[in-house]
């Protein structure tokens, strides 16, 4: 299904069928995860490197565990304390890793498009674990998996994404993925955090959270980066919480059986109130589990495509 596609750079480039194929595989991987013995031989003999130019706990751990559950040899490189800190270019770092026989490089980078540059220059499969404001495909896949699990479908659902849309790679990947699978996507947030001409991606834009949430099947909160406040993109976290935070009252605008998602970590009391985070609609913890399943599926599917020992056309 993924044909000769070597890399997973984003959902923008994938077809609906390819996305569904990954999600189906992730369901199988979730079954594996639920077993007492989680060790499988799927990636035996494969080597996987996580190359993180940005700090991360959950995404990195999720990828690492996914690799290890499937018997891959996994190693990490952080930007600090490595050749990267000495000024080595991304391409040179990538080529060095490539020449060690690496099958998959998982990259997180603060600049949009960095995984695309890497992918063009290495034989290994490149998996984007978040690039700048562009995409975070495995996060969106785990969100879609969670929605599909609970609702049985994605097509026809109304999904409201609330918060800093402009700087969110999670929002962008979800917009590409969800709209391809037939969901109606609404976004809302302060006007300063809505990217220009976002409606051309097929979403509806609201400045009022209530309007965006009205009859939503799924509500997705996004993490607010506090440095955005210092840059004057919104006045205070207090004001943000008042006008754009999701609490019990606002959530009432959504459907009664609505789901609440958030990529985490959450600023409690800012984008989500504590009663909502810990409430019955919240699937924040299940998202984490599905994250490992999705990453297992992605690693399994793409380890067969790349790698310095295989002939890729």
């Amino acid at each position: 299904m993924l044909g000769k596609r070597k890399d997973l750079l984003g959902l923008k480039d994938l077809s609906a069928e390819e996305i569904k194929y990954i999600l189906n595989n992730a369901e199988t991987m979730k079954y594996v995860l639920s077993q007492k013995n989680k060790k499988t031989p799927h990636l035996q003999g494969k080597s996987i490197i996580t190359l993180f130019y940005e700090n991360s706990t959950r995404t990195r751990l999720s990828f690492e565990l996914a690799a290890k559950y499937m018997s891959a040899s996994a190693a990490n490189i952080s930007a600090s304390g490595s050749s990267v800190a000495k000024g080595e270019t991304l391409i040179d770092t990538g080529k060095t890793i490539d020449m060690m026989g690496t099958d998959i490089i998982i990259i997180r980078h603060p600049m949009s498009g960095a995984p695309h540059l890497l992918a063009k220059n290495v034989k290994a499969s490149v998996i984007n674990a978040g690039d700048g404001m562009n995409e975070h495909p495995t996060q969106a896949l785990l969100d879609m998996m969670t929605i599909k699990e609970k609702k049985g479908k994605i097509k026809g659902l109304k999904v409201a994404i609330i918060g800093d849309i402009a700087h969110s790679r999670v929002a962008r990947s979800n917009i590409w993925g969800l709209t391809k699978l037939g969901a109606e996507v609404c976004v809302a947030g302060p006007a300063t955090l809505i990217p220009p001409e976002i409606e051309k991606t097929g979403v509806k834009v609201f400045n009022s959270v209530q309007e965006a949430l009205l009859d939503a099947d799924v509500v997705m909160g996004l993490r607010i980066q506090l440095e955005r406040q210092k840059r004057g993109l919104f006045p205070t976290t207090r004001e943000y919480a008042r006008f754009f935070g999701i609490d019990d009252k606002r959530l009432m605008f959504a459907k009664e059986d609505a789901l609440l998602l958030h990529p985490g970590p959450v600023n409690r009391g800012v984008e989500l109130s504590s009663d909502v985070i810990d409430g019955e609609k919240s699937l924040i913890n299940e998202q984490v589990t599905n994250g490992v399943a999705v990453r297992m599926a992605v690693l399994y599917l793409f380890a067969r495509k790349g790698g310095s020992n295989e002939n890729i056309n």
């Binding site: 991304l90 949009s112 695309h116 001409e197 051309k200």
Partner: protein
């Protein structure tokens, strides 16, 4: 050395020539222009220009030669050779070298180096402020006497409005044109491409068009207040074109230029994180491209400059955010003008030459840009209809950064003659 250019179609907008004429050159000067000239002798080079245009050598009032300081990208020798194959016989180079052209010594260095190794005429542009820092005026008077043809902090806008006002007042005393790179840096922020759907699509930080428009408006106000002419560099937005159009109608002494990439490419060229299409100001939208073309057509935009900005491959083969801005401009500018403006009926060939020869010469105060009797013979012979495919590997520039690789363009330079010396003969750089 004597040269007779025969049977060519001479277009010389300044002298209103547009006819089949011959040109006779002797001792570096144009001696005679007339029909069917008859000169002979063993030491005469006869150029058969049948079917070709014979026009004044092009003048680029905005380029970067990178010397001193960044010779790994370009130097005066390679830069002038690149200019020559593009049909440019005179070029004015920006001061953002290292050290900056903000003092007499560096002006002398550039002039001397150009005289020794350059193959076209080189005119340095001095800095407006010391070190391009935007804090204190450079010694503009001394720069002028050392030989600069204008001052500019190109690449770095003078953000302090008071300082810009003083720069205009001060430079005017020395009759030195001020060229302004218009960007409000507080609006630019950390943007790396035009703000719009493409920046949203690619997840790259955008630069609002207002960043340019606001600064163009400010500089026009300052020009009006001081009564000093101002030249706006590389106009890229519909808003800036409109603001300049209105100012000109009011009689403000404002002139401006655009570059070929702003009338040929939109921000779609950035797709795939294509660093060859990363520029400053950034490539804009279709609406802006149309406005720039309209501005060229109605005379709002006076000049087509190249903003020749060579960069080493390692400075482009990086993450988009980190990539250097700009393109190799000399070697494609004329063909882009012919293909996208003349062939499409937006400008006549004569109007194109007005913007690539006559107007830049007028703005910089150069006695160039036309085919005058007893004037230095800066002449080019071009085939306006000949198609070719752009190949960056054949550039004379040291650098290869161009978004036009693989484009089919019309218009080739067969001869470049500078001061009566043949630099390019039958498309070959000597």
């Amino acid at each position: 050395m004597r040269i007779l250019i025969k049977n060519g179609h001479v277009i010389d907008p300044k002298n209103r020539r547009d006819d089949k004429l011959d040109i006779y050159i002797e001792n570096g000067l144009i001696v005679e222009i007339d029909k069917e000239l008859d000169y002979s002798g063993g030491d005469i080079e006869v150029i058969d220009a049948e079917g070709k245009l014979v026009v004044p050598g092009l003048i680029d009032m905005h380029c970067h030669l990178r010397e001193p300081g960044y010779e790994y990208k370009e130097d005066i020798e390679s830069g002038t050779r690149s200019a020559a194959v593009g049909g440019f016989t005179s070029i004015a180079c920006m001061p953002n070298t290292n050290p900056v052209i903000d003092n007499q010594a560096i002006v002398e260095y550039v002039k001397t180096k150009a005289k020794n190794v350059g193959v076209v005429n080189v005119y340095p542009i001095g800095a407006i402020t010391k070190g391009l820092k935007g804090e204190e005026l450079a010694e503009i008077g001394e720069l002028k006497f050392a030989g600069v043809v204008a001052v500019s902090d190109d690449g770095k806008p003078v953000m302090n409005s008071s300082l810009m006002r003083r720069a205009l007042q001060y430079a005017n005393m020395f009759d030195t044109p001020v060229i302004s790179h218009c960007e409000d840096l507080t609006l630019v922020g950390d943007g790396v491409m035009n703000e719009g759907y493409m920046s949203t699509y690619l997840g790259l930080k955008g630069i609002t068009r207002a960043a340019e428009d606001v600064m163009v408006a400010r500089d026009i106000v300052l020009s009006e207040v001081t009564g000093t002419p101002i030249h706006i560099a590389h106009v890229s937005t519909a808003g800036a074109v409109e603001i300049i159009r209105h100012a000109k109608a009011r009689g403000v002494k404002v002139t401006c230029e655009t570059c070929p990439h702003y009338f040929t490419l939109t921000d779609k060229a950035v797709e795939g994180y294509n660093t060859a299409a990363k520029m400053n100001p950034p490539l804009r939208t279709e609406e802006d491209v149309e406005a720039v073309k309209e501005g060229l057509k109605d005379g709002t935009i006076d000049v087509i400059a190249t903003d020749h900005a060579p960069h080493h491959i390692d400075e482009k083969n990086v993450e988009f955010d980190k990539a250097a801005n700009g393109i190799v401009g000399f070697e494609t500018a004329l063909a882009l003008g012919i293909t996208y403006l003349v062939d499409t009926g937006i400008l006549t060939m004569s109007q194109l030459l007005q913007k690539m020869c006559v107007n830049p010469a007028n703005i910089l105060g150069l006695n160039k840009g036309s085919l005058g009797i007893n004037r230095p013979a800066d002449v080019i012979v071009i085939d306006k209809n000949e198609e070719y495919i752009v190949d960056i590997n054949k550039f004379q520039s040291k650098s290869r950064n161009s978004p036009y690789h693989g484009y089919t363009l019309k218009g080739t330079v067969h001869y470049t003659i500078v001061g009566g010396k043949v630099i390019v003969r039958q498309k070959v750089l000597l």
